[in-house]
Amino acid sequence: MGTLLTVENLGVVLDNQVIVEDVSFDVEENETLAVIGPNGAGKTTLFRAILGLIPYTGKVNWKKGVKIGYVPQKLYIDRDLPLTVREFFDLRGVGVTSRELSHFLSVVGFEGNEILGKRVGVLSGGEMQRVLIAWALCNHPNVLLFDEPTSGVDVSAEVSIYSLLNKLHNDEKFSIILISHELQIVDRYATKVICLNKNKVCYGAPREVLINKNLSELFGGDISLYHHH
């Protein structure tokens, strides 16, 4: 197993404010890394930095030739945006064959191709998330970056998105880096956790990291994770 991503001493300063400071971690192949932390902790900024979308200091080294699939946080799309799901896939530029598209749609749980004719603005939060996952899968990624997969999604869809992610992870053999609020989910699916609050508060396997001392340092107050043993 090789290392897909190495991050060393990453720092991001935006508008003279330190958003992320001195963060180091790495991601191995076939691993699920969860990034947790309070609002404003710099989680999304960390993502944007490792994707190379914003300037940063320190080192971000991707394995050569790695393909990244990115699933953004909830998109705000006008209800009346004249864009069908099929056209949304076409926006990728490089042609996605109909067969491939059908395959990815079935992977994320859409039966048939009816969804392709719908407008993206009328999709439910859960449907949109699954479309975005399929969109990212079109890149045949080695690693999937997932920003708050379930914000704006109702609870039943939330559960199915995580089980979908887990299934994908097992079937398609790629690494996942995800930002999440749901500690239970992180505990269940992640192989490694990084707690972020500008700088790295804790880092390691969920069982070692998600302990009350770390969590209350991270989120403040009494937060604990109930372990189902």
Partner: protein
């Protein structure tokens, strides 16, 4: 109607198509008001061009180029879009433009005059419109994706800032082409209204683009004809026709929503 006028109406249709198509992205980016106000900047440029006896189209484009760079800069450096600042900047140029434009040319610069366009300018406008449409077509997917999510676009390895700059440059060009027809006050309307109308009735991006261009052509064509037959200024007639199209599409949208 003489052959020259006919040719110029024909030219207007090309400019209308290019303006409608380019404007469709402005509406998607929710920058309609900027698109509208941008055209006011052409005025001081045209005024200087008239003073120095060069083509007003070149003067307009030079002024728009500066404005486009300013819009691009603000859009890419601020997290909050500084609409107020752009409003101030654009009305400022309009005021300066009105003051320095020679009085006899003012009305024409503000509201356009199709009769004063030379055939050569007309021909140039057709060629440029076609080039504009062609280049826009090349970047259209990236622009649409960028209007939905810059991150998604950039995750494909495309730099939004670059694409957006090319796009804004194209908008500057199309406005410079159009100010001769409908004037600096109203050219923005020809960029925005056809696209806004098309958005009312389109279910897909393809339909949206095609309708934006078609509504642009309709506005230019029927607006010019109305203006010529009634002996009215053409610019306002073009805009009024586009507004009629907007109202009609809005009603269609409303009736669909009730079904």
């Amino acid at each position: 109607m003489d052959i020259n006028t006919l040719i110029l109406i024909f030219v207007g249709c090309f400019v209308g198509a290019a303006a409608g198509y380019l404007g469709s992205f402005m509406v998607l980016k929710r920058m309609s008001l900027v698109g509208d106000a941008l055209s006011h900047v052409a005025l001081p440029g045209m005024a200087l061009a008239i003073m120095f006896h060069i083509s007003p189209m070149i003067g307009a484009f030079a002024a728009l180029l500066i404005a486009v760079i300013a819009v691009w800069y603000f859009e890419s450096t601020s997290t909050i879009y500084p609409e107020a600042l752009i409003g101030v900047f654009f009305t400022f140029s309009l005021a300066i433009g009105v003051l320095i434009t020679p009085q006899p040319d003012l009305l024409e610069a503000l509201f356009g005059n199709i009769q004063n366009i030379s055939l050569l300018e007309g021909l140039l406008a057709i060629v440029l419109s076609l080039i504009l449409i062609f280049v826009t077509r090349i970047i259209s997917k990236k622009m649409v994706l960028g209007s939905i999510s810059k991150e998604l676009l950039e995750s494909l390895g495309v730099t939004y800032k670059k694409i957006n700059f090319v796009y804004l440059l194209l908008v500057g060009l199309v406005v410079a082409l159009g100010v001769r027809f409908v004037g600096t006050m109203l050219m923005g309307a020809l960029v925005i209204i056809p696209a806004a109308s098309a958005k009312n009735v389109s279910k897909s991006m393809n339909a949206y683009f095609i309708l934006s261009a078609i509504f642009g052509i309709f506005s230019a064509l029927f607006g010019s004809l109305t203006g010529i037959y009634l002996g009215l200024s053409i610019g306002p007639c073009v805009v009024l026709v586009s507004v009629v199209i907007f109202v009609l599409t809005y009603l269609v949208k409303g009736s669909e929503a009730r079904v």
